[in-house]
């Protein structure tokens, strides 16, 4: 289901279930408008195109949130902490926190790959990066995540999350 994959990416990045659903609806409305308006010209690469639209929409929302949090002297973490699902499902809390440590581009690749379930070739199409660069970036992002998780586990004297 494309819609759940887009939702998962949006929620991972924005931390809010309601906002992720709103973004998902907005993405599919945009895609439908473009398709019915004859703006879809990437025959055979629909999935990459769809997720590019989604990624751009998520980026716009992040920029909007940053502007509003700067204006209110807050930070995005406050918004994330308000999500009830986030509080209920603490299984992945450490991993989510570790994702926050990644750079914007590394995080996008991780989320496109594991939340959006895109292949590396599709991610390469979408981002315009060469496959080798992409694989290296993904590998580096995983190492960073592992390091954050291990450091967190040793700080809390707990076993790594499974």
């Amino acid at each position: 289901m494309y819609s759940r994959r887009v939702f998962a990416m949006a929620r991972s990045r924005l931390g809010s279930t309601d906002l992720a659903e709103e973004i998902t609806q907005s993405v599919f409305v945009t895609v439908a408008r473009k398709v019915t308006g004859g703006e879809y010209e990437e025959s055979g690469r629909f999935e990459a195109w769809l997720f590019r639209v989604a990624m751009n929409r998520i980026r716009d929302e992040i920029r909007r949130q940053r502007r509003s949090t700067v204006e209110s002297n807050g930070h995005i973490g406050d918004l994330i902490a308000q999500d009830p699902v986030e509080r209920v499902d603490e299984r992945f809390g450490v991993l989510r926190a570790a994702l926050e440590e990644l750079s914007e581009r590394d995080r996008e690749i991780i989320e496109l790959r594991h939340h959006g379930q895109l292949s590396f070739r599709e991610i390469a199409d979408l981002t315009g990066e060469p496959m080798g660069t992409l694989l290296a970036r993904h590998h580096r992002a995983l190492r960073k995540l592992r390091a954050v998780l291990e450091s967190d586990a040793s700080e809390n004297e707990m076993e790594p999350l499974r």
């Binding site: 289901m1 819609s3 759940r4 994959r5 939702f7 998962a8 929620r11 991972s12 279930t17 659903e21 998902t24 609806q25 907005s26 599919f28 409305v29 439908a32 408008r33 019915t36 699902v85 499902d89 299984r91 992945f92 991993l95 989510r96 991780i110 790959r113 594991h114 939340h115 959006g116 379930q117 292949s119 590396f120 070739r121 496959m131 694989l135 993904h138 590998h139 995983l142 995540l145 592992r146 998780l149 790594p160 999350l161 499974r162």
Partner: protein
């Protein structure tokens, strides 16, 4: 393209499995109506006119000429049928028996009322006889007067 083919071996390990599990959990978060809501949003904003809703806003049904026309046609048909039905009621039932029964009851009630009034009235029969006698006497006097006048003229 499978994940094994496209580079999974590079980052294979516990972290990647955890990320896959996180992705699965995120994709499973929306309720069963999620896809329908997405579809509704697309239909409402792109593929089809807004459904009939009675709230204020851009999707108001009365802004659609087709719906307004349909509503007006239905109202006219209902009005005509209503008028025909009401006119049928005011003309009364078409069965003559009902009318006869109603008229007979009215006559009977009228006769009863007259009889009741007559019970309280004096006897006018002698007065009527006297009036007839006066009338006859008056006619006799007039005839006699006319005869006298004729005789007078002839003598002159």
């Amino acid at each position: 393209m499978s994940r094994e083919e496209d580079g999974r071996e590079i980052g294979a390990g516990e972290t990647e499995r955890m990320l896959d599990a996180l992705g699965n959990a995120e994709r499973g978060l929306p309720d069963a109506g999620f896809e329908q809501r997405v579809m509704d949003a697309v239909c409402e904003q792109v593929l089809a006119p807004a459904p009939i809703r009675f709230e204020r806003g851009g999707g108001a049904w009365w802004r659609d000429p087709m719906l307004v026309g349909a509503a007006a046609s239905i109202a006219i048909v209902i009005g005509v049928v209503g008028m025909l039905w009401l006119s049928g009621l005011s003309a009364g039932p078409s069965v003559h028996g009902d009318v006869v029964i109603t008229a007979a009851e009215e006559v009977e009630a009228f006769v009863e009322t007259v009889a009741w009034l007559e019970e309280g009235l004096p006897d006018f029969a002698p007065l009527e006889e006297q009036a007839e006698a006066i009338g006859e006497a008056t006619e006799t006097l007039l005839d006699e007067a006319a005869q006298v006048l004729l005789e007078g003229e002839e003598s002159i």
